[in-house]
Symmetry: C2
Subunit: 398 residues, 2 copies
């Protein structure tokens, strides 16, 4: 039969990017398109030891039996300790919800707060998958102007007044896609303004621990003047994305609403994955293993920066992140369409993501996002060389 | 700040039952309220061996790195083999989606098909958590009359004509909450009628393997006359609920829409949990371990049946299931409110679930659901004795 799909899903076909991504599984392709943490940094042996030990204990059944929607208490506790490093304080258990990765946290915020037609404010550009989630709730997404120090606060105020947003979504540290970090001063301004106008803010913070240079900045949450800011942490980039475990911290009544929403979505996060994560933290392994991985991230970022300056056309202006996974670039003043060009790049065995997909309004046709975390320095050299040649030809032939 | 919640969540507070369920964690309480598989049946040692072996392999990073939304190919393949036992045939990979437990499958069907105000047809009574999901999509839920052999087909036809449902949700084998199984003849009728009227059907089938008496009945899906029936299997009751792994099988375009929906919900199911499940199946362990657990389920069900006939008041009429986890009963002709009575039962250290919550329209005030799978025969004897005395007093005092 022909199924009649819901309005929220009717427009979501995931076609273009999806088809290209299938090509990326070809081994000869060097892909800078993904957002995977370095595979070398995954602590396989430690997780093997922990799962064997936990499954050997008398209460091992807890790893395999149903759990509560709110999450395994020890994990909630470890999340509470972990986020303190960025000035995020948790009053008690009712302020923490264990989630099945950051994606689910964005989804549950939307589920709890958004009606069809409500406005979400985001930085332009912002995390692609967040935009897709907002679309699935039939929200209006409005982009706020990016500034060198974070968000343009004047533009933010105008758009808050004009659109009366039900939610603001931000990635203030090593932003996806730009790799940019908001200054403490800018965070204070955001905190003040969103408290003043009563705008709920989701601070998505999966990358902050992956800082390989510069000074730590406390979370936006730490500057909050009301409990309108919700802080989201994820273990995907600092332990393992495959476990699908994260945590969300904030106002107890909102956390409770999200827990009720989560009950209908997946009942609870995998008990096995939760308990492995909690035990990894309890043993004090997280901090050292993240620290140990930072030189790898730094080296790869530097390799990409060098390759960019060596091979990319001079029109390519780009960020120089102090951490995280991404470099963001624009072919300044060039009227090119990086989405249309991608298949040709893939034919040359190198891939990026077109920047356009990170914009609420489809701008950014001449921008790209490059991921450096999951390719070797040699691959980065070869891949950026190929990409540079390709774009030089494109710009030269025009 | 005071958050303004979305319309879909405004009414969902999960209060009454939630507060009572907190009491159930007290160790002196014997609870027949849950839906947990027998803890003794969880194959802890085998899962320990498998996770150690998989995490020791050269490609162990796959258990910890990001995976595709559609799921681990080997698991999809195992799901395709598994469902054949009930006459469910899978054409190819595009007909299977790995899900994070059955709850997610219901959610993704709704996400793909339902707009606000659309009608979902269910059996009355049906799975409580499914009703909550339908409510979260602001659907109208209409109950169809239950019959001894399944669903009353005349009532089904009238309600299809009247309400033009966008979805029908059924648990045809060892139904939750009644423990009832539809006959093959009734399934044929449902298959014919829903194909004729073009009604998408979600067949939720987590319990079919837990048959300890009677003859196997093929899935509703196997009788389908069109591809309007979607079949959902779960590993929660036959391997481990804590892993949160299941599979959904059906029309490729619908499966794809669900995969796009899943991408926004949790990106993918825990890789570790998926690969452990796939390997457990690949080694041929599932069939024997489920078989080995059946005597335990049979014994507990029989213990509960005997205790019911010994202790419960004669007004209590109930089902006698051939498998699954639940006995369903009604205090026939008694004007009592089992929801209001539950706190008093809990004071006597025994718990059930009020049947009312399984009805679309809040009927069934004099019904209860009893779970026999997760209590010892001794606990069943003590608990049903206490429950019987309690209800005799209630009925006698009136």
């Amino acid at each position: 039969m022909d199924f009649t799909f819901s309005d929220r899903m009717a427009g979501m076909n995931g076609t273009a990017t999806r088809e290209i991504f299938k090509l990326l599984s070809r081994p000869e392709i060097i892909s800078f398109a993904g957002g995977l943490p370095a595979t070398e940094a995954l602590p396989i042996q430690a997780i093997r030891d922990i799962s064997a030990e936990l499954l050997g204990r008398a209460d091992a059944y807890k790893l395999l039996q149903y759990g509560t929607t709110e999450g395994y208490p020890q994990l909630a506790e470890e999340i509470g300790k972990l986020v303190r490093e960025f000035g995020v304080t948790v009053q008690d258990r009712s302020n923490v919800l264990v989630i099945s990765g950051g994606q689910q946290g964005i989804d549950l915020m939307c589920k709890s707060l958004l009606n069809k037609g409500d406005t979400v404010l985001v930085e332009d550009p912002t995390y692609l998958a967040a935009l897709q989630i907002f679309n699935s709730y039939e929200a209006r997404v409005v982009g706020m102007r990016s500034a060198a120090d974070g968000i343009d606060l004047q533009d933010m105020e105008e758009k808050i007044k004009l659109h009366k947003p039900k939610l603001m979504y931000l990635v203030p540290t090593f932003s996806n896609p730009t790799g940019k970090t908001y200054t403490a001063e800018n965070r204070k301004g955001i905190a003040r303004m969103t408290a003043q106008y009563g705008v709920p803010v989701l601070e998505d913070d999966p990358y902050a621990r992956l800082r390989f240079s510069g000074e730590k900045v406390d979370a936006l949450y730490s500057f909050a003047q009301d409990d309108n800011v919700v802080y989201m942490a994820s273990f995907s980039k600092i332990l393992s994305p495959g476990l699908r475990v994260g945590g969300i911290v904030g106002n107890a009544s909102l956390i409770r609403k999200m827990a009720i929403g989560k009950q209908g979505t997946d009942l609870h996060t995998s008990s096995l994955a939760q308990m492995i994560t909690a035990e990894y933290c309890r043993r004090g392994l997280l901090q050292p293993s993240v620290q140990a991985s930072l030189p790898l991230y730094r080296t790869r970022k530097e390799a990409m920066m060098q390759a960019i300056s060596r091979y990319m056309p001079q029109e390519f202006v780009h960020t120089d992140p102090e951490g995280g996974l991404f470099i963001w670039g624009e072919f300044a003043g060039c009227d090119i369409d990086t989405a249309a060009l991608l298949p040709q790049a893939v034919q040359r065995n190198v891939a990026y993501i077109q920047g356009q997909v990170f914009y609420a309004d489809g701008r950014g046709r001449n921008t790209i996002r490059l991921n450096y975390s999951n390719a070797s320095c040699e691959q980065i050299e070869i891949g950026i060389k190929a990409l540079g040649q390709f774009f030089k030809e494109v710009l030269h032939n025009r």
